[in-house]
Symmetry: C2
């Protein structure tokens, strides 16, 4: 019988997690009080602003335990928070992990989830400094608060885009969303887990180191990650900057894998690019003269291209898709909304 | 029909909450980015450490919607996080609120919950700067991350108690736990909600302003709040400080209301004091010469007494109750453990 959470209790589990973090986690000398007191504490760096974000994943809704290893669930939960810090141009530093657990969960699975957190935190030099464990009889949840830093005044907001700015995107948004659809349409097929797009859905990449470098460079005017889908997040920039956007369809980066998957799913790959969430790519706006320097910067950080796909206009909140024949098609933001009917199945 | 979360969607709800916070919440000039971007941001004060804590409450387990108004659920969730910051000697500044919600929840109830958060935050000058809303089909949860500050080097840890130190406690721990028992034993009686101890359970007080003043004064050696029950939390101090403790039974502050409730519940009131959680009083250790000055300080902040009830010994981890006849009774920490069988009913 594997050891269960109920066997060792809350304080037993905290002890086990602390040991794991001490052994396998990164160490930060600015942390003055770590896990094991009423609060954690750290000494901020002079001249830096503190960034803070939180994001929750609910079992059966944001992660599917039947398809995902605990390690990957942990990676995914941490990656999406790291992505948010990167999208501000910041560097992640400290995480607090709050878990809702069932008493019958295996201790080993929880340890694997923490190894997943560390697999994302260690490479960026960030560490877990606190959290909370609570009994949640009705289904698990993972709620992560991630703290980061950015040099004073250099945070990249949604509100800085100006008419005439270029619109850039990293990588190939839409792949993870197509991967999820493949998974949901073929739940019984074990080979489905080896599909490249399903892999991208299960272990998404963030672009936080590039985001931090862009913030530091001062070359961008606005930045956001595609957690609500490309169009939803471009919509956030348009909304907050009171601008519009034109996208050139022929420039939209569609990976060959997405093209094939879209055929199988009988959908337009551009729809996946525009509408699906679950990728954590960056949308960046900048003056046209900064496109070249930002491309050079991106080459140092990314295994994927940075593509210029459109420009910001002064038609507030109007987003147009320009087809190859010059037709202008208005687009409506179709973004992930947690409470609407269009949500993925529970 | 009241308006439901599913009617207005995630972004509609975020808009409504933002309006409420702008209208009714405190403003902080050090917040450089508030709600509405990938992360929030603030400028830390030079010479201060940042404190950070999180605590989750799960519906049906840590709060009972059938007995508690949403406003009180919000107050309670925020009060217990504020208590943690105060127990470090710090001052609360910024909260992130992560909610797991059902689509059928009434928008007005959620707004009332936020008013409950503000009822605790506004008096201490703290504000909500971010958060997350997520669909949780199986039952709600409230997870709060609270950020505070403490002057560099002045955080009060669990590990600072030394043999010979006095042990002080604020107020009358055990009352909230007895209130919960009264509530659970008389669920059908509407008058039960007016019982003073039930009221204390439903809207607990924290002692954070006193905690911050004690931290600032430098007069205490260790401090903790009684969120795990008095004995559990004194146990944490003994564990982390590698010391023991003696408590004098006749000095234990038992309120007349608790004495009466304990009679009705056929239990020893001292058991409630030692074992029950749900009060957020402070346990403080200090050199004997500091007891007087700390009492004077407490009189300025507290409507309840600060009582010296024992002393720290060099018998590591041994906690003794000294009875009026001099008998020494060893005590075992019986503290709140979220996953053990002894938990309150779900």
């Amino acid at each position: 019988m594997p050891e269960r959470v109920g066997d060792i209790g809350e304080f037993g589990l905290i002890g086990r997690i602390n040991e794991l973090l001490r052994r396998e986690g990164a160490f930060s000398e600015r942390v003055t009080i770590g896990i094991g007191d009423d609060t954690a504490a750290f000494l901020p760096r002079p001249g830096y602003e503190i960034l803070v974000t939180c994001d929750a994943m609910v079992e059966g809704r944001h992660y599917l335990p039947q398809y995902m290893r605990s390690f990957d669930v942990g990676r995914r939960a941490m990656a999406l928070n790291i992505s948010d810090i990167g999208a501000m141009g910041g560097r992640p530093l400290y995480a607090l992990v709050s878990l809702g657990l069932k008493a019958e969960m295996a201790v080993q699975e929880i340890e694997e989830m923490y190894r997943g957190f560390l697999a994302e935190l260690n490479p960026v030099g960030a560490s877990i400094i606190g959290g909370n464990l609570t009994h949640s009889g009705n289904g698990g949840f993972i709620d992560i608060t991630l703290i980061g830093e950015v040099e004073k005044g250099k945070a990249l907001r949604r509100s800085g885009a100006r008419p005439g700015d270029a619109i850039l995107v990293t990588g190939y948004p839409g792949q993870a969303g197509a991967g999820l659809q493949l998974l949901l349409q073929n739940p019984q097929d074990p080979r489905i887990l080896e599909e490249p797009l399903v892999q991208i859905y299960l272990t998404p990449s963030h672009r936080a180191p590039l985001g931090a470098a862009i913030g530091q460079s001062g070359r961008a005017t606005a930045m956001i990650d595609t957690s609500d889908g490309f169009l939803g997040d471009l919509g956030h920039i348009c909304e907050e900057s009171r601008v519009g956007a034109e996208l050139f369809q022929e420039r939209i980066p569609i990976h060959e894998n997405l093209r094939q998957a879209a055929r199988r799913l009988r959908r337009d790959p551009v729809d996946f690019f525009l509408g699906e969430s679950d990728d954590y790519e960056l949308v960046i706006t900048c003056r046209p003269s900064e496109v070249g320097p930002l491309r050079s910067l991106a080459e140092r950080y990314l295994p994927v291209p940075l593509t210029e796909i459109g420009r910001i206009t002064d038609h507030a909140r109007e987003v147009l898709l320009i087809l190859p024949d010059g037709t202008r098609r208005p687009l409506r933001a179709k973004s992930w909304d947690h409470f609407r009917r269009s949500d993925p199945p529970e």
